[in-house]
């Protein structure tokens, strides 16, 4: 007797990068995951450029030339966007670290109706990330744009 070919019922991350934008009926944490990756890539790109810029500090002429270059036009706005990305990435990273080690997770329980959504147990931490990010970014904006003008 010949057995019918077994078909794979699951696929390893078949959505790939497109799943970052829309991954179906996932919760809000899925979009935090996307933001964590986008901000991480932005900060990594900045880090490589920042290394090349700060590497000029061993020579005064080169340092003054490169500082003159990076403090003009739209570059300070770009630097502020990197600051926003870094703050969000760090605060959400703390949330992920705590979740990873089980501190924000719900305790295991029997699935008895009405079912509770485990992710909702840590939703407050998601909101806290946004609140603290807003406060820190607000202070950063004050430092970047108001104090820097004077």
């Amino acid at each position: 007797m010949k057995f019918p070919e077994l078909k794979r019922k699951t696929y390893a991350n078949n959505m790939g990068v497109t799943g970052w934008a829309y991954a179906g009926r996932y919760g809000f944490e899925r979009y935090m995951y996307t933001l964590q990756r986008i901000t991480g890539l932005g900060v990594l790109l900045y880090l490589s450029m920042h290394l090349l810029v700060t590497g000029q500090k061993i020579d005064q002429t080169r340092w003054e030339w490169v500082m003159d270059l990076v403090t003009k036009n739209v570059l300070p706005i770009g630097e502020f966007l990197v600051f926003v990305a870094a703050v969000f990435h760090a605060l959400n990273g703390i949330r992920l670290l705590l979740t990873h080690f089980g501190f924000l997770m719900a305790k295991p329980a029997r699935p008895i109706y009405p079912f509770t959504v485990a992710a909702l147990k840590q939703r407050w931490a998601v909101y806290l990330v946004f609140v603290v990010t807003t406060v820190v970014v607000g202070y950063g904006a004050y430092e970047f744009f108001l104090i820097a003008q004077h």
């Binding site: 991480g40 880090l47 700060t54 590497g55 500090k57 005064q60 340092w63 403090t71 990273g93 820097a148």
Partner: protein, 118 residues
Amino acid sequence: MRESTRWMLHLLAGAVMLVVLGIHFGVMHVGGLFGIPKEEVLTFASVNARSGMEFYLVVYLILLAAGLYHGLYGFRSIIFEMSFIGSGVRKAINFILVLGGWSFFFYGAYAIIAGFVA
């Protein structure tokens, strides 16, 4: 090295960066927090003076190593999440990232140590 060890190092580097990047932000962007006026922080004299201190030598070497490891391991994780990448390509990506990471580390460490010695 096992993948779980690499992942734990990624988390550790992230936690270390919270401290050293916090110091870096405090020095560079929060006026007067470390006793350096904001308008002077990017002048060559101020940068040169900080470069000669042991405290900043240690902070910036740790920041460089932790930042590169955390960033490049995170980048590698993002690439490897794309399931269509085969094992040969993965090996090539590993090689490129390790080579790039060490190159950036030596470049950054040279600038930090040269600034300290000068």
